[in-house]
C-alpha cells in the first residue's frame, strides 16, 4: 500500500468528521432559531390585542346645566366638572329599558373610567364644545374589550362567564348598530400606568427607562472611557494597578441586586436622594455598567495597532496627543459597541431597581430624573403580577416594546461600528 492509498483511506474519515461537525453546528443554529421564533410568536400573539383599542360610540349632550360650566369657564372649573353625567345619560338614552339601580351600574360600566377624562380633556382643549351635542368614540371597559377581542367566550354558560347576559346583550346591540369600533391603541403609548387595564399605558415606563439610561450614560461613559484610557495608556505597571484591574473584573461579576442594596443604603438612606427616582436608578445602573464599558474600551484600545501610536510619537506628538488624536478615534467603534451593550444590559435590568423603590405603582408620567417612575422591565413585572386578564396582553406588549428598544440599540451599535470603522 503506497502513501496515496493511506491518505485516501484517512481522507474518508476526515471528511466524515468534517460533515458531522458541520451538521451539528447547523442543528444547534436551527434549534436556537426555533426557540427564538417560539418566544417571539408567543409574545407577539399575546401582545397584539394590546395594540388595538375597543371604543364605544356615544352621542353626548354637553349642556351647561348638567355640567355646571359654560364656554367662558376657566380650566380650573372645567377640571372639577362632572363629566360622568353626560356619558351616563347617553348610555341610558341608548338603552332606555334599563331602570333598576343595579342594572344601571352595570350599564355605566360599558365605558371605561377613562371615558370621563377623555371627555374632560376634549372640553379643556376646546371649551366651545360646551352646550353642543357631540358623537364621540369612548374608550370601552376592559370587559367589553375582552368580549370584542374574543378573550371572553360569548358561548360559555352565564355562570362561567365574567360578562353576564344583560351586558353581553347590550354589547351585541351596540355591535349590531355599528357603535363599537376598534382602532390602533395610541392611548397605550400616551398614558402612564393604571389599575384599569384599558387605561394603562407604557409611556411612563418608557420615559422612566429613558431618564434612567440617560443618567447611566452620562455617568458611566466618561468615567469608564477615562479609566480605560488611563489603565491602557498611562498607568504604570505595578501591583496597585494590577489590584485595580482585578477588582474591575470582579465588579463585572457582582450580582446586580447587590448594587441595588448599595444604592438603597448609600444614596437613599445616607444621602437622602429621592426614592423611586431615575437619578438613583441611573447611578446604581452606572455602577453596574462601568466595568462592562471599561473592559470593552480597554480591549478596543488594546486592539489599536501599536504602529499607529509609534507613528504619532515619531512625529513628536505627545502621549496625550497620540491617544486623543489617533488611538481613541481608532478604538471608538469598539468603545461605542461596548457602551451600547452596557446600556442594553442596563435597560433590561430589574433587580437593583426593585431595591430602590422603582417598583412602586406610579400613574404620573415622570417629567424629570427626580420624579418617581418605573422602568420597562419593572412595568413588565408589575403587569405580569396583576390579576386582571387585560394585563396579560399588556405584559406581552410591554415585552415587545422592551425588545424593540433593545433591537434599536443594537442596530445603532452596528451602525456606529460601520460608520467609525476605518482600516489601517
Amino acid at each position: 500500500m503506497n502513501n496515496t492509498d493511506i491518505v485516501k483511506q484517512s481522507l474518508k474519515k476526515r471528511y466524515f468528521k468534517e460533515r458531522l461537525f458541520k451538521t451539528m453546528g447547523m442543528l444547534s443554529i436551527v434549534t436556537a432559531i426555533l426557540f427564538l421564533l417560539l418566544l417571539l410568536t408567543d409574545i407577539f400573539t399575546k401582545a397584539w390585542p394590546a395594540f388595538i383599542q375597543t371604543r364605544v360610540e356615544l352621542t353626548v349632550d354637553l349642556n351647561e346645566a348638567d355640567l355646571g360650566i359654560d364656554a367662558q369657564s376657566d380650566e380650573q372649573a372645567i377640571m372639577s366638572a362632572d363629566f360622568r353625567k353626560p356619558i351616563r345619560a347617553a348610555l341610558l338614552n341608548t338603552f332606555p329599558e334599563v331602570t333598576k339601580r343595579k342594572q344601571k351600574r352595570e350599564l355605566y360600566s360599558l365605558t371605561s373610567m377613562g371615558a370621563e377624562f377623555q371627555l374632560r380633556d376634549m372640553v379643556i382643549e376646546n371649551p366651545q364644545l360646551i352646550g353642543t351635542q357631540q358623537t364621540i368614540q369612548f374608550m370601552a371597559d376592559d370587559d367589553v374589550d375582552a368580549v370584542i377581542k374574543g378573550t371572553i367566550d360569548r358561548l360559555l354558560p352565564e355562570s362561567d362567564r365574567r360578562v353576564k347576559n344583560d351586558k353581553l346583550g347590550w354589547i351585541e346591540t351596540l355591535e349590531a348598530s355599528g357603535q363599537i369600533t376598534t382602532g390602533f391603541n395610541w392611548h397605550f403609548f400616551a398614558a402612564g400606568d393604571s389599575r384599569e387595564p384599558e387605561m394603562a399605558g407604557i409611556k411612563g415606563a418608557i420615559l422612566g427607562s429613558l431618564y434612567t439610561l440617560l443618567v447611566t450614560l452620562a455617568l458611566s461613559f466618561p468615567v469608564a472611557v477615562a479609566a480605560a484610557i488611563y489603565l491602557e495608556e498611562f498607568a504604570p505597571k505595578n501591583r496597585f494597578i494590577d489590584f485595580i484591574e482585578i477588582n474591575i473584573n470582579n465588579l463585572a461579576a457582582v450580582p446586580s441586586i447587590v448594587f441595588g442594596l448599595l444604592g438603597l443604603a448609600v444614596f437613599i438612606n445616607f444621602f437622602s436622594m429621592p426614592r423611586s427616582a431615575p437619578i438613583v436608578g441611573g447611578i446604581v445602573l452606572s455602577l453596574m455598567t462601568l466595568p462592562t464599558i471599561i473592559i470593552a474600551s480597554r480591549s478596543a484600545i488594546k486592539a489599536v495597532p501599536p504602529s499607529l501610536r509609534e507613528a504619532a510619537l515619531g512625529l513628536g506628538a505627545s502621549k496625550m496627543q497620540s491617544v486623543f488624536h489617533h488611538v481613541l478615534p481608532a478604538a471608538l467603534p469598539g468603545i461605542l459597541t461596548g457602551t451600547i451593550i452596557g446600556m442594553a444590559q442596563a435597560l433590561g435590568e430589574t433587580a437593583p431597581l426593585l431595591m430602590i423603590g422603582m417598583v412602586a405603582f406610579i400613574v404620573d408620567i415622570p417629567q424629570s430624573v427626580t420624579d418617581p417612575s418605573t422602568v420597562l422591565p419593572i412595568q413588565v413585572f408589575l403587569w405580569a403580577d396583576s390579576p386582571e386578564r387585560g394585563f396579560l396582553e399588556k405584559t406581552s406588549a410591554a415585552i415587545m416594546v422592551l425588545l424593540f428598544f433593545l433591537i434599536a440599540m443594537n442596530a445603532i451599535a452596528i451602525y456606529l461600528r460601520k460608520k467609525f470603522e476605518k482600516k489601517w
Binding site: S307, A311, A312, G314, L315, Q321, K422, K423, W424
Partner: protein, 291 residues
C-alpha cells in the same frame, strides 16, 4: 593588516563547518569596534551606549558617530539590536517600560537623555520612518499636515497647503496623489504609503531622519523609488537607515556599521566594508554565510 586579523581569528571557527555559524561565531573573542566609528563632523555622537530590556542587555557598549548630511547604514543579522540602537537616537525606547538606556548620546553636542531634554521636542528634530508603512487612517493631506499642525509650524491654511505640497514633492509622491489629496492615505499602495510616511516626517522639517528597514515590506520597484529618494534627501537631512539588504546599504549609504549580537563590530566607508571588511564577522555576514 587585514590578512593578519583574519589569520588570527581563523583558527577557532575552522573547527566546525556547518550552517550554524551564528552560534559558532560566539567563539570569536569580541574586541573593540574596528574601523572608524568616529568622524570629524558628527551630527549625533553616541558613547558607550548600553541598552537593556529588563535584565536582558540588547546593546553592549556602542560608540558611534553619525556624520551630518550623509547616510549611515546599520546592518547585521536580525535580532542583533539595530532597531534598538536606532530607537535610542530619538528616545522612542522611552515608550517601552522595561527599556533602559545607559551611556551618552549627543545631538549637536547636547545630551538628549538629560533631564531637561523634552522627548517630544527631540522627536520633532529627529524624525522616524518605520518598517511597515503606518499612515494614519486619515486623508493624504491630513497625514502630512499632522506634524506641522501639532507643532504649530504654519500660520495659516495657505502656508500649510504649501508645506504639504512641498513635502509631498520632496518625497516624490506629489505627482501621483495631487488629484486626491483628500482620499484616505491607507488607500495608497505599499510603496506610496511609505513615501507618504516619509513626506509626513519631512513636513516637520527634522534634522535627522531614522529609517528602520523602510523598504523591507515593499516590492523591488517601490524599493528602488525609496532608495532614489534617500539619495536626494541626504542633501538636507542626516539619515540613519537600518537595512537587512546589503545591496541596499551599498546603494544608499556613505558609511556602514555592522552590528552583531548587540555589539558594534565594524564601521567604515561603505565601499570599504563591502569590498574589504576588516573583521571576520563582517566578512562572513556580507558574504552571506549568516544573517
Amino acid at each position: 593588516m587585514n590578512e593578519a586579523v583574519l589569520n588570527g581569528l581563523n583558527e577557532p571557527t575552522m573547527k566546525v563547518q556547518s550552517n550554524r555559524e551564528t552560534e559558532d561565531s560566539l567563539n570569536i573573542e569580541y574586541t573593540d569596534t574596528v574601523g572608524q566609528p568616529l568622524c570629524d563632523d558628527p551630527k549625533i555622537s553616541t558613547r558607550n551606549v548600553d541598552v537593556f530590556y529588563a535584565d536582558n542587555q540588547a546593546i553592549h557598549d556602542v560608540s558611534l558617530d553619525i556624520g551630518a548630511h550623509q547616510v549611515i547604514a546599520l546592518i547585521g543579522p536580525s535580532g542583533c539590536g539595530k532597531s534598538t540602537y536606532l530607537r535610542t537616537l530619538n528616545r522612542m525606547n522611552d515608550t517601552i517600560d522595561i527599556c533602559r538606556v545607559k551611556g551618552q548620546i549627543l545631538l549637536d553636542g547636547h545630551d538628549i537623555y538629560q533631564k531637561k531634554q523634552d522627548p517630544v521636542l527631540l522627536r520633532a528634530r529627529v524624525g522616524m520612518v518605520f518598517q511597515k508603512p503606518n499612515p494614519f487612517p486619515k486623508s493624504i493631506y491630513d497625514n502630512v499636515a499632522y506634524g506641522p499642525r501639532i507643532h504649530g509650524l504654519t500660520r495659516n491654511k495657505a502656508e500649510l497647503d504649501d508645506l504639504v505640497e512641498d513635502s509631498l514633492i520632496k518625497a516624490g509622491l506629489f505627482q501621483e496623489v495631487k488629484d486626491r489629496l483628500h482620499a484616505p492615505g491607507t488607500g495608497l499602495s505599499g510603496g506610496q504609503q511609505q513615501r507618504l510616511c516619509i513626506a509626513r516626517t519631512i513636513a516637520v522639517q527634522p534634522e535627522v531622519i531614522l529609517m528602520d528597514e523602510p523598504a523591507s515590506a515593499l516590492d523591488p520597484i517601490a524599493t528602488a523609488k525609496i532608495e532614489e529618494l534617500i539619495n536626494e534627501l541626504k542633501e538636507n537631512f542626516t539619515i540613519v537607515i537600518v537595512t537587512h539588504s546589503m545591496q541596499q546599504a551599498a546603494r544608499v549609504s556613505q558609511r556602514t556599521a555592522y552590528f552583531h549580537m548587540g555589539r558594534l563590530i565594524e564601521v567604515g566607508e561603505t565601499d570599504q566594508i563591502f569590498t574589504n571588511p576588516s573583521h571576520e564577522l563582517t566578512e562572513k555576514y556580507i558574504t552571506g554565510r549568516f544573517g
